[in-house]
Symmetry: C2
Subunit: 879 residues, 2 copies
């Protein structure tokens, strides 16, 4: 039981009286507090009063209203009648009221509202006289009957809609007759359905409407909404009872909505529309075309001036762009609502930067005004959906942006389309490491399997391309030349449009909005974000192209350069396979000797772009069988060999098949990969370390100042790390001996196994830096294979068993605790060791805030996500 | 630098003088301290003195001996000459010395020894006279030359062996001549190889021998041995200089070795051999057949009596069976060595129990005397290897015991052999869940792949059968009708013998020793082990047969009953597949309704055997695709279908193929399994819970008192556990409602994911018990797939990157820390919650000791391992 103050159950506002203010949101709800605040600012609002949330709670707990309420309401009504000059229930000039809900936390559309309270069979004619519009008065009454019936009495809406309606374009006289007959039918429905007449007594209307609004707090949809949004059930709602004003009282009346700044571009200019002699719903219904706000200026200059003054004051007061509604009743301006304006990402950035320049907010506040996750909207191309195209199917929005192109059902097809100058969208079951060239050729990827951190998703984010994974209702024809998407058949070369921001797939060639090349406001905001040097954001970048983008986006280094992607390129794969098929170390070394200059050249290019910033290169990570064709492919090719000239290929394939069989693994994610490869095939490590250092030396010779960081993946124990660090150092010493040159380099390791996190302090003794590989750490900690998890993660998310996909947002309670523990133990031994994060979570703003709290020195993410990460990191510093 | 006490550098023993005792092992080494102790006990030992380890350390750090040493050695020598009546370097009756190493921790064979110091071209003839055997004297001199050359001067042994030898069977005169010429040649080798003569000066011989023994502390092999065994490098070795005694001085001399109790059976009886007029090496070389010890009793009754008295005293003193060496020189008995006797497992048990009865040791001490890991030697059949059969190949000793039988290359073949009354050994690449019937039919398993915790290994230990995994050099013919093992071809039905204790494979039918049905001593020891009620050992048991064995072995309950094995039996698999192929919940429920009574019957049988002990039943764990044939099998069968009558089967196979494809997983270990199945297919959980409770109710009706514990696998989060506990409870309520009966049951979960360990305290709030599934926890924490890890674990173990296979012995630093953390946090919230371990580690004695330290309430292991676990648990309580 919550005690109700018996002293004051309602708070008045309007006519220069404001008993509340915006600090009283929990008592008066957002709407009530806002109206009180506007009144204090001398903003003209229609007067009214707000019944507190306390009253609501009493009602909810006891089922009864406080006995003192009625007297206070009557007193409030008398005051309202005084200030409006109208009387509630007066048949000549009736005071009409709106009864609206208003919770402390906004729950848009969840609770009920009843308008036009105070009309009945008599008063409606008084309103007709006063408004000079019988049609308006009758329609208002019709609306009251409908809203009261459905909201207060729970009558089915269908009853009313089945009774017919009046066409908006009807002649005034005909409409009046039709409305009169409709009102009669509506009132009959009350008798038929509830057994009672519609209450003609305005007091009765008001009382029942208030109770209905309170009761709507516990409607099923409201409870569901609160549960989904974590809003406590015990808050309750306030009820605001407000005099209605009418913009349709003649040519000196009108109504409008507007923004203090352009909500689409953010430009500082009033952006509003106006309809003379009209009501708000006329704008919403779109039956009349609103005029530009300059028309108001022309017609009623003093009202326009007042509107500008008032809304500016509101913006200045709230220090944010406002979205407002106004009504002019007989030349008098009323503000009905003001609230923080919804805006596009672009507008949010522009407004934040402008307002900081104007001194309205600080730079830090400006940084907090933009949601980092909204930035891809600005940075990536977007589909133009104004034609309202049909959605074919939907999948996981795995990488934002949009792509429009021709369907390619395989990597070679995508390459062929690109070579023919055509945009391609790669559509496959899922992608694997050897699709990398096809992916480079395509504009976007659509896959039927895989989750938010599947291969396709990771590569897409890395390349800054759009990607949808686990799309439903996609089936591939047996020969992979046709597909069916959402029941429609497509063939290779057909147009498709995909939206990586929403996961929606559209047929055909939709128009797109390209991302602006230059964005001054964003550049300035990000410059502020980076002013505090603490917020280091590196890039995950495997290629010179990635590195260039990373540099342009202000990366402070490369936090993860995966060397295996380089192994798939062009002619290299052949040599990689020779290396894998080698039956002894000597043969392996020969193949590696061919690969060395190629890797070296890769690293040289990246070092030139990034110097003097650090470049963290991860040694070979995936199991070797990933570089071989699948057993099925080999077997299929072997089955087609009949002639003698195939002999050599046959032998080669047979060798490949035995090796692929020998290397096959039940659980490759936990198999022979990462540093386990370096320990069993030390030649591979030696080649890579050699290529890294030779590249650095070469680039130094050219006058650059590269800083290579060699990172060992999948370390589980101190013993491994000690051995691997020794192997790297001894290779480096040999390179130094051979070349007579030396360059600084660092050794580090990924912490991506639970055991590495547990033993982090002992592992860290052997390295200069550690970097959390949060993808694998999440996989192992949860025992969720990211390739397989989409099958049940959906169920988990739907049933609330997971708050978020743990591969997108770091799991703070589990994986996060492991990371926190590791950092604590490592810092205790070596407070200055550099600690990074290079999993996908390094680009997720919520995760970044968590990592910053733990004292991580840098995060590393896809080049395209760098702005997101920079902003998120800056915000976490401010918070 | 370690300070050396300048006061006392050597300690005398013998002739009733004992300057040291057995507590001074770190100063005098094991040998020196033991000789001193024997002297104190008035055991006759040849006199001598021990130079301390302090001297060794000084030498090792400074390269020089302390200046005071020489004077003390000379003083010691004079004392030795006094008590022996011989003179060092005397040409008539020379005192000969042995110079032996003796470290504080035994390092057998790692350091050097020089015997017969004091002989030269002159003294040798004195010894010949005294010993009446020129051949013995010359041979002793030859040995001194060889040992001194190789050990002290580092001459290659090959130099000496190339110089020839004297045949043992040579006539005495011929041998004497040959020895003289050999001694001449040996002395020439010294000049040729070192440029100097062999030092004829006995003092010089002694000094250099002592230095050589000290130096051998730092030999490569000694350093390697210490590193492997964790012995600190700074201990150093002592050097014992002792008068040599000779058992070959005539018929009143002799030598022998023996045990105070039978080292093979443990029976309390002297077990010794004796050779008159002989030296110790004659027994070792086997050139003469030793006599039973009764012969000594017959020939020299007083000496025999003294020997019995002395060795009894030693056993009483050391409170353990002794292994001793003795020499009789002219009627005088000398003990040369005594040490704790090596013994078989059976002897260890018998001795421990007997000695406790004799009051020599307490029951607790008796429990500590037996290595739990040695018990399988008693409990399982063993190969009789007395014919020294050739080893075909070797693999991982995955489950102990031995098996002899005919090769079966598939499960059906094993079943056919068994049905034909023949013993089968199943030889396959690896086994899978659907081999379970073939495995039940076979005596033992030999696989070419998989580690110590592969399917074959786990099932073998569960069934108490012998198993070798990852055997090298096994190849299977294309049609799987032949195999090659170590280069030899075998076909199905050929005999094979395998030793699961050593991992060795032999061709043919070797004889075996069966394990004794009754073993009173072991039963008594285990009864003591279980006397303290705290040591709860449960069994992992899936079948009534397992349960019966578990009960017989004294299990306190079943800690893990896997329900999936039941799904493979007989006709059930067909219904399981129908359930999997179901496309909706309704069809699935229909198939489950058929399976329910089968599962219920399984549980009833187990409850009857175990009541009133708890039976922990794990809900379905493996991914569903494990129950379907592999894609390859389906495709192969489809390829062979041509006729019309195959039509139905074709459709069935095609459906199975689509489902198998849809269910295929990249990393099944981290896939759609465990409680994820229960959450996505709640019907399966409902069927299993229903079967468990209906079974319990039925058995209660029969007057039993069953206690089912329902265990949920692979839980990762509190949210899952809350939901699953609700599902179980609501099914139980329904059963109660339907039957009107109720029975007690408990809900628990496995902690087998790192995240579950991290979040254990919140998960534990929803259960009555938790049980660590250490197999999966080890897999996930290390990121080691146990199916794939054998490829690199070998390398890891060989290179010292792992101390032990983490799937056999719990990894205390990593996985163990996670368990410790989980237990701490769970106990903090609920001190009384029951905590168990049901992974393979529950049967490993070292792991059990670790778990007990953490406060685990019970461990659960294969029924056959129960005695091991009981003993290990009891030991951990004592420690």
């Amino acid at each position: 039981m919550i005690a109700v103050s018996t002293e004051k159950l309602l708070y008045r506002f309007g006519n220069e009286v404001a008993e509340g203010d915006h600090s009283m949101t929990s008592l008066l709800g957002g709407k009530g507090a806002g109206l009180a605040e506007m009144t204090s600012l001398s903003v003209p609002v229609p007067p009214g009063f707000t019944i507190t949330t306390d009253v609501c709670r009493t009602f909810l707990y006891t089922g009864e209203l406080p006995p003192e309420l009625d007297a206070q309401v009557q007193e409030g009504l008398r005051w309202l009648e005084d200030v409006t000059g109208k009387s509630f229930g007066d048949s000549a000039n009736p005071l009409l009221l709106s009864v609206r809900s208003g919770a402390p936390i906004s729950m848009p559309g969840m609770m009920d509202t009843v308008l036009n309270i105070g009309l009945n069979n008599e008063c409606v004619w008084g309103l007709a006289d006063v408004s000079q519009s019988p049609r308006f008065a009758l329609d208002s009454f019709r609306r009251l009957l409908l809203m009261f019936g459905t909201v207060v009495l729970g009558m089915p809406r269908k009853l009313f809609t089945d009774a017919g309606d009046v066409a908006p374009e009807s002649d005034a006289n005909i409409a009046q007759l039709e409305l009169q007959s409709l009102i009669k039918r509506y009132q009959q429905l009350y008798v038929e359905h509830t057994g009672s007449e519609f209450p003609q007594d305005p007091q009765m209307q008001l009382q029942r409407a208030v109770l209905a609004v309170f009761a709507s707090w516990n409607s099923e949809r409201a409870r569901f909404y609160r549960k989904m949004n974590g809003i406590p059930d015990e808050l309750g709602t306030a009820v605001t009872i407000q005099a209605m004003v009418f913009g349709n009282q003649g040519e000196d009346s009108g109504t409008g909505v507007g923004f203090t700044r352009n909500p689409s571009t953010g430009v500082k200019e009033i952006f509003a529309e106006f309809l003379p002699n009209a009501q708000g719903e006329d704008i919403v219904a779109g039956t009349r075309t609103p005029l530009g706000i300059t028309e108001l200026q022309r017609r009623m200059p003093p009202v326009y001036d007042e509107l500008i003054r008032v809304t500016q004051r509101l913006e200045g007061h709230y220090r944010d762009a406002q979205d407002f509604e106004f009504t002019i009743e007989s030349g008098k301006l009323f503000l009905l609502q003001t609230r923080s304006a919804k805006r596009t990402a672009q507008a949010a950035v522009r407004m934040a930067v402008d307002m900081a320049h104007e001194g309205l907010i600080t730079q830090q506040q400006a940084l907090l005004r933009v949601n980092p996750e909204s930035l891809p909207e600005i940075l990536m191309p977007q589909l133009d959906l104004s034609s309202l195209p049909a959605v074919l199917t939907q999948g996981l929005p795995a990488s934002p942006g949009a792509a429009v192109g021709r369907i390619a059902l395989s990597s070679p097809a995508a390459i062929a389309l690109q070579q023919g100058g055509k945009a391609a969208i790669l559509v496959t079951e899922e992608t694997t490491a050897d699709d990398i060239q096809g992916m480079a050729a395509a504009r976007g990827f659509l896959t039927a399997r895989g989750g938010a951190t599947s291969h396709a998703a990771v590569v897409a984010r890395g390349m800054g391309k759009c990607c949808i994974t686990s799309a439903k209702n996609i089936t591939f024809s047996h020969d992979h030349r046709y597909i069916s998407i959402g029941g429609k058949t497509f063939r290779e070369g057909d147009w498709l449009s995909i939206d990586g921001g929403t996961g929606r797939v559209y047929g055909g060639q939709l128009p797109t909005r390209q991302a602006a090349e230059e964005n001054e406001a964003l550049d300035e905001l990000l410059a502020w974000a980076m002013e505090d040097g603490e917020c280091a954001v590196r890039a995950n970048a495997d290629t010179p192209a990635d590195a260039t983008l990373a540099r342009r986006n202000g990366a402070t280094g490369i936090g993860l350069c995966r060397t295996e992607h380089m192994f798939f390129e062009g002619q290299r794969l052949r040599h990689v396979r020779t290396m894998i098929l080698a039956t002894n170390a000597e043969e392996r070394v020969r193949a590696l000797d061919i690969l060395l200059p190629m890797q070296q050249a890769d690293f040289e290019a990246i070092f030139r772009i990034m110097a003097p910033l650090p470049v963290t290169i991860r040694l070979l990570d995936p199991p070797l069988h990933e570089f071989l064709p699948s057993l099925e492919e080999i077997t299929a090719e072997l089955a087609e060999m009949h002639t003698a000239e195939d002999w050599t290929r046959c032998i080669e394939l047979d060798a490949m098949r035995s090796r692929a069989r020998a290397l096959a693994e039940t659980n490759p994610m936990m198999g022979h990969r990462g540093c386990r490869l370096s320990l069993t095939y030390p030649e591979i490590l030696e080649m890579q370390v050699r290529a890294i250092l030779l590249a650095a030396l070469r680039v130094r010779g050219e006058g650059f100042d590269p800083l290579p960081e060699i990172m060992v993946p999948l370390v589980a124990s101190e013993e491994e790390m000690r051995e691997l660090a020794n192997m790297i150092r001894s290779t480096a010493e040999q390179v130094e001996l051979e070349t007579g040159l030396s360059c600084p380099y660092r050794i580090g390791t990924m912490i991506e196994l639970p055991r590495a996190a547990i033993c982090a302090s002992s592992i860290a003794q052997h390295v200069h830096f550690i970097s959390f590989g949060t993808n694998d750490l999440t996989q192992m900690t949860y025992g969720f294979s990211r390739d397989d998890a989409p099958r049940y993660l959906d169920t988990y998310l739907q049933r609330g068993l997971l708050e978020a996909d743990p591969f997108v947002t770091i799991d703070e309670k589990g994986v996060g605790q492991l990371i926190a523990m590791a950092i604590r133990s490592v810092r205790a031994v070596d407070p200055s060791i550099k600690i990074g994060v290079c999993g996908e979570h390094g680009g997720d703003s919520k995760s970044i805030q968590f990592f910053r709290k733990l004292g991580v020195d840098y995060v590393s993410c896809s080049p395209a996500r760098i702005p997101v990460a920079q902003l998120a990191a800056a915000q976490s510093l401010i918070a």
